[in-house]
Structures are given as structure tokens and as C-alpha cells.
Point group: C3
Chain length 311, copies 3
């Protein structure tokens, strides 16, 4: 495995720019404090840009039109933070692929080429893990799970446990409804530490391509999560919910069962949606329990607090 | 191990019916899309029943009095979903018992006959696990835990960790209060993935027979949870709470310490109860933070939103 | 390893008292029901004190000035519960240090003297764990983590996973922002089961000395948590938050990103703070979403509920 480096030429390719013929190369990404000639930093605005110039960084991604263009360290780009992230992904490509000898991969499971699996991770019989994935230590992947390519699953996550469905008998005791469906995780999904995603009861649970899920999120059985959805930590999604493409769920959001969230909807932190409801509106933000459009929520807060003057 | 099958005769026994002498048998449960002559489906109402009839299912549990009784596939029962779940439990009985060779069972722990234990699960010295349990991969059961029979513990759950109790010294630092009690899980309890239940501090924490607990639930030290209680995902129960028989706690409910929930009480999603409070009323639903009876909660929401017209 | 005992002389030393020459010794701490001549109990008030006297305990920590001083079992102290906890810490010192043979400690990780590590715990290459720590079973410590001395990490916790930071491209897909920083856990920190604490993105995440964290807490990347902070179960802290010394966060509290909590602030259960906000006031309690001072919160609740009479 060669030492990780990124050349100006490679950066230009990542950003779809013509080659300038510049032959410099860099070893790492850094913040300003820790910068050196071997590192790249980024500046998203003018104030950050001045700090970046004062650092020892070897290359500075800066907004188009930034001053100091005569400084050869300045590399103007449309979105400096995005350029920086693309370089991170490039450098990640140098990470070596390792299946830890203590990973517990059943002989009847399938693991694709280029996939790393951490110590003590369990891949049960029947599970399919794609190529170039990163599966953390102590992860459990049940046999009902089918994982795409370039999927990241951090330590302690549990994929494909039985969902929470019971039928109550006349004596008040509960019998589990069959939990025998599949879990499908599409390509480029990332899943945080100790997150749990349950298998379908009879059908499937599906997480769409490119969706990013933080730590300690719970997704119940038979949910259908779209593409490029964002779920921050401790979000809880009850069974049979639909979350469409590009939605954003902030931390601790809760959805009752059979909730439907339209494409591009944004749910603010700790907001909640009652069972069976649907929220829609690309880019529209909702807040509170039960969740209402942001401007209504802010008015509600203000009015309730104004009540204080009345007693 | 024989192939899993369920005969009409066995279904009749499960449901307490007299034998009809029908000798058909089935291999699996399914939804309508995936149905075949070898599968059983259920229809809870007339609309579902029509879909079921249009499917290729070999047997259809349908409500008493459903039309099409002349179709030999129709099996009328009092509660079709419940009958379907009972068949699921029957077929589960064919699952083979396996203690995975990498399960880490201390020589001073005890594991009953018929119990399955997943890869990487840890059963520490002193722990007692009953018969016919299913312990998932990467579960940790501390030595203070006593687990009954027919208990299901899904992957990543932690049973019997030290509770969260500290005493503050004059210098502002904290000293842990002794956490040396037991954890008792009675028969037929089911526990979800990555759930945590702490041992008692000096006494015990106890989960009553038949209680079902979803993923990522936390139950603190010295709690006493009754029988046939339901706790959906991400419920958080502080120390020394009592939850009586048949209560239902929806997702993300939070109880402060020393809360008491009466038998059969229903707490809606994300509702919260302040420390030391008691809620009562079998079948009564509470919502909000602090939780109030559902009809009061709905009035509160309506009135607050009506305020909007006043400015 | 000698049998755990604590002598009166040792108790006097723990409490900073002069030696009385009393030569009695005890084997354990207990509650009243389970007390014996070999056990110590405590009574925090007069009512408890009477129950303690009626028990079979060999020694009773009681408030200064308690009656029955002529009973040689009564040991008056300034804070009986604190004295009891100090004895617990003393007896903990007899626990034997064990690195379980199945703990997966990378050859390039460092573990200090006197540290116990549970079965299946994973300590990755580069991680540094100090002396006299207790690391539970199935814990994962990534290579970016530096753990101090006398740190307790309960089962299933994940320390040092990548944080949740992404940059959105023009096509709506997300690229991970580099997550390559460190996680520093100072001395005497205690961390609950299945808790997750992420590494810094470029800089570090830091948990200050003496801070106590319950089960299923999430702390995001680049947070700076002070000393002697308390976080109860299911607290969720977004990225780049600051929580200063001595703050107390009750269960299910949520902080948006870049929130700052001043020293000694108390946040009630399930309260939430919007991104970028700061709360201050040592000993001041805040409640609700968004969190407001307790007296305002209680007025808000009362006024909203009084609205009910108006329709």
C-alpha cells in the first residue's frame, strides 16, 4: 500500500477542472492550528480565509474571488468545504482493506471484494455484504440483510434484528407477529455506532442509496427510507414509515408508525409526528410535537410565552 | 431436525378447536405478494380478505362470517392475526438450538437446555440463563443477571450493567453509590437490540413475565416492571420506577425517577412523566410533557393553536 | 487477592477522622432487608434511621446528632450516603484485575497497569488506555482514543467512531467531511452501556475529569465536556457543543449543534436547546423545548392549562 498523497492534478480531476500542470502534492487534511506545508485546509468565508492565510498550510481551498490570489497556496473553488471533503474521500481510498481475524463471518455469508470487517463483528449465515464496505468492530449483521457497495457501518450497530410486532391474546399476553422479512441497505449508505435497523416483518425494510444515518438511530420494521436522506443521532422511526428522498431529520426526531415524510422535508430537533400523518414540502421545515411548519411553531412559542403577562 | 411444517390439525389444537380431520399442511407464513400453495396468509378485514382470495395462498385466516366459505382455503377464526402469530410461534419451534462456538460463556455461568447463544455473546460468571432462550450475537449478560425461560434477547443488548447513582462530595466530585444488586428477567420476556437494563443498586431490578421491550430502551436500576408490559423503542426509564402489569409505553417515552405507572395505562409517543408522579387508569391514554390525559392534551394543543388568531 | 474487608480505622481515614481505636471490621454494604452483622447500612434521615436500627446491620452511618448514640452500631457522619459510597469505593479496590483472554487488544494499542478488560472488548491500533480502568465486555475503543486513569466504560459503549458531518454536492448526494480527529477521556470519567462518543472531525472531542455519563448517551464530534458533569441516560449532544464544569443534564436532554451550557447549569428531563444558544447560571434549572428557566416553564404550563376554561 503506497503512502497516501493527493496531487493538484488529482484535485483538479475531482473538481472537474482542466489540468494546470501544477505538480505539487499533499499528504493530509488539517485545521489551521495543525497545518503544515504537507496539509490542505479550507476557508468557507473571508474571515476564515484570513486565518487560513496566517496558517502554515500548503494549500488553501478558498471561495472564488478571494483576495490574495497571487499567493500560490490559494486554490479558489466554488465550494471550498466540498472540495476539502472530496479530497478526504480520495485519501480514504488509501486505507488498507482488512478482515480482522476475529471477525465472525459465517461460511454461508457473502462478503464482497475490498470490504473491511472489524474485530468481533458478526456476519450471520445468509447475509450479503457488498464490495468496498467498512464494517466496524462488534457490529452484528443478521442473515436477512443485504448490504450494497461502499457502505459504512460503525461499531456496535445491529442490522436485521426482528421488529417489534406482537398480537395480544385474550388473556393479555402477547405473541410475536412473524418477523421473517429482509433488510436491504443500498450503496453508499453510512450507518452510525449502535444504530439498529430491523428486518421487515413479512416484506422488507429498505434504506435508499446515499442515505446517511448517525449513531443510536432506530429504524423499525418495514420502513422505506429514500435516497440521500439525513438522520441525526437518536432519531426513532416506528414501523412501516416512509421517508422520501432528500429529507433531513435532526436529532431525537420521532415518527409514529405509518408516518410518511415527503421528499426534501426538514424536521427540526426532537420534533415528533403522530402515527399515520404525512408531512410534505421540499425544503419546508417542521418543528415541535406534533410537528408544525416552522413559522407556525415559532408563533406558537411566542404566543404561549406572551400569555405570561396576563396573570 | 425435521423440516418445519404446520398441519391443519396442529392449527386446530393451537386455537382450541375440535379436529376436522383435514390433513393439509403448510411450510410457511407469507404476505399476499409472496404467497404460494405452501403458505398461510391472514386477512383482518373484508378489504384484506379480497386481496387474500386473489393471492396464491394455500390457507387464509379470515374473520368469522367471511363470505366465500365454499373456498377450502378459507379458515375462519375469531382473530386472524392472532392465529397467524400462533402459527409463527409453532414454526419457530423448528429452529435449531445452537450455541455458537465463539459465544463467551464463563465456566461459572449457567445456561439452560435448549437455549441458543449467538456469536460473540458474553455470559459472565454468576449469570443464570434459563431454558429455550434465544440470546443474540454480541449481547452482554453481566454476572448479576438471572434470566428465565423462553426469553429473547436481541443483538447488542446489555443486561445487568451498573446503574447510574452517584453521591456528590463537598469538592463537587462524584463517588459512585454501590451498584451491586441483581437483575431478574422473568419468563417469556423479549428484549430488543442494543437495549440496556441495569442491575439494582442494593436490591434488584425486575422485568415481569411476558413483557416485550423494543430496541434501544433503557431501564434504570431498581425498577420494577410488571407482566405483559409493552415498551417501544427508545423508551427511557429512570431509576426506581414502577410500571404495573399491562401498561403500554410508546416510543421515546421518558419517566423520571420514582415514577409509578398503574396497570393498563397507555403512554403516547415521546410523552414524559416528572419524577415521583403516578399515573393511573386501565386503558387510559396519556400524552405530552408532562403527560396529561389524552382528551386534555388534545384540548391543550387545539387551544394553543387557536391563540394564533389573536395577534 | 485477600478477602474484601473494611475496618473502622479505614473508614475513619476515608472520612478524615481521628482514629478511635475501634477494631471492628465489615465485609459488605447492604440495604436493611439484607443486612447482617457483617454489613454496613446508611440512614439519611430520622425515618430511615429507625428502620436501620431495626435491621441486623453491624454498622449504621447516621446523620450527626441522631438519637441512639449509645448503640455501638451507630456511626454518626456529616453525610451518611457519601460515607457509604466511599466504603463502596474502598471495597471495589479488592476487585481483581483481569484482561479476558478474548479481549481483542491490538498490538499497537497501549493498556495501563491494573486495567481490566472484558470479554470481546476491542481496543484498536493506536488507542491508549490508562491505569486502573474498567473496560466492559463488547466495548469498542477506536484507535483515535486516549483514555485516562480510573475510567469505567460499561459494556457495548463505542468510543471514537467517526462523527456525523457531511457536505452536500450539487446533485443532492453527500460526501463525508473528514473525521480524523482524536477523542480524549480524562481521569475518573465513567461511561454507561451502549453510549457512543465520537472523535473530533479535525480537532478533538474531550470529556473532562470526573464526568459521569449514563447508558445510551450520544456525544457528537468536537464537543468539549467539562469536569464533574452529569449526563443521565439517552442524553444527545450534537457536534461542537460545550458543557462546562458541574453541569447536570437529566435523561433525554437534547442539545443542538454549537450549544454552550454554562458551569453548574441544570437541564431537566427531555428539555432541549436550539443550535447555537447558550444557557448560564450556576444551580439554575431549565426545562422544556426550547429550555427556559424552571419558574418560567412552570408558569407556561400552568397558563396553557388555564386556557382550558375559555372554550
Amino acid at each position: 500500500m503506497s503512502e497516501p498523497t493527493i496531487k493538484i492534478k488529482e484535485i483538479e480531476e475531482l473538481l472537474g477542472l482542466e489540468s494546470s500542470g501544477d505538480e505539487r502534492w499533499f499528504l493530509r487534511l488539517s485545521n489551521y492550528d495543525d497545518a503544515g506545508l504537507d496539509s490542505i485546509v479550507f476557508a468557507q468565508d473571508q474571515s476564515a480565509f484570513e486565518k487560513a492565510l496566517a496558517s502554515s498550510a500548503g494549500l488553501i481551498f478558498a471561495p472564488m474571488g478571494s483576495a490574495h490570489k497571487h499567493d500560490s497556496r490559494v486554490f479558489p473553488v466554488k465550494d471550498p468545504k466540498y472540495a476539502f471533503a472530496l479530497c478526504g474521500r480520495w485519501l480514504d481510498g488509501f486505507a488498507s482493506m482488512v478482515i480482522h481475524p476475529t471477525a465472525l463471518i459465517d461460511a454461508a455469508a457473502s462478503v464482497g471484494y475490498g470490504t473491511s470487517i472489524g474485530a468481533g463483528a458478526v456476519i450471520e449465515a445468509g447475509a450479503i455484504v457488498g464490495e468496498n464496505c467498512f464494517i466496524g468492530s462488534n457490529v452484528t449483521i443478521y442473515g436477512c440483510a443485504e448490504i450494497g457497495d461502499y457502505v459504512v457501518v460503525q461499531a456496535g450497530a445491529v442490522l436485521g434484528a426482528m421488529g417489534f410486532g406482537y398480537v395480544r391474546g385474550e388473556d393479555g399476553s402477547y405473541v410475536r407477529f412473524p418477523q421473517q422479512g429482509r433488510l436491504v441497505i443500498e450503496d453508499d449508505v453510512e450507518i452510525g455506532a449502535n444504530t439498529t435497523i430491523d428486518r421487515g416483518a413479512l416484506g422488507e425494510t429498505r434504506i435508499g442509496r446515499g442515505t446517511k444515518i448517525d449513531n443510536q438511530v432506530h429504524i423499525g420494521h418495514n420502513c422505506r427510507i429514500g435516497k440521500n436522506v439525513i438522520m441525526a443521532s437518536q432519531v426513532g422511526i416506528s414501523g412501516s414509515c416512509v421517508v422520501e428522498d432528500g429529507a433531513v431529520l435532526a436529532g431525537q426526531v420521532g415518527l409514529g408508525d405509518h408516518v410518511s415524510i415527503g421528499p426534501g422535508v426538514i424536521l427540526g430537533g426532537a420534533s415528533g409526528v403522530f402515527p399515520g400523518k404525512r408531512l410534505e414540502g421540499p425544503g419546508q421545515m417542521f418543528m415541535g410535537v406534533p410537528a408544525e411548519p416552522l413559522k407556525d411553531y415559532l408563533k406558537t412559542i411566542a404566543r404561549v410565552r406572551r400569555l405570561k403577562g396576563r396573570d
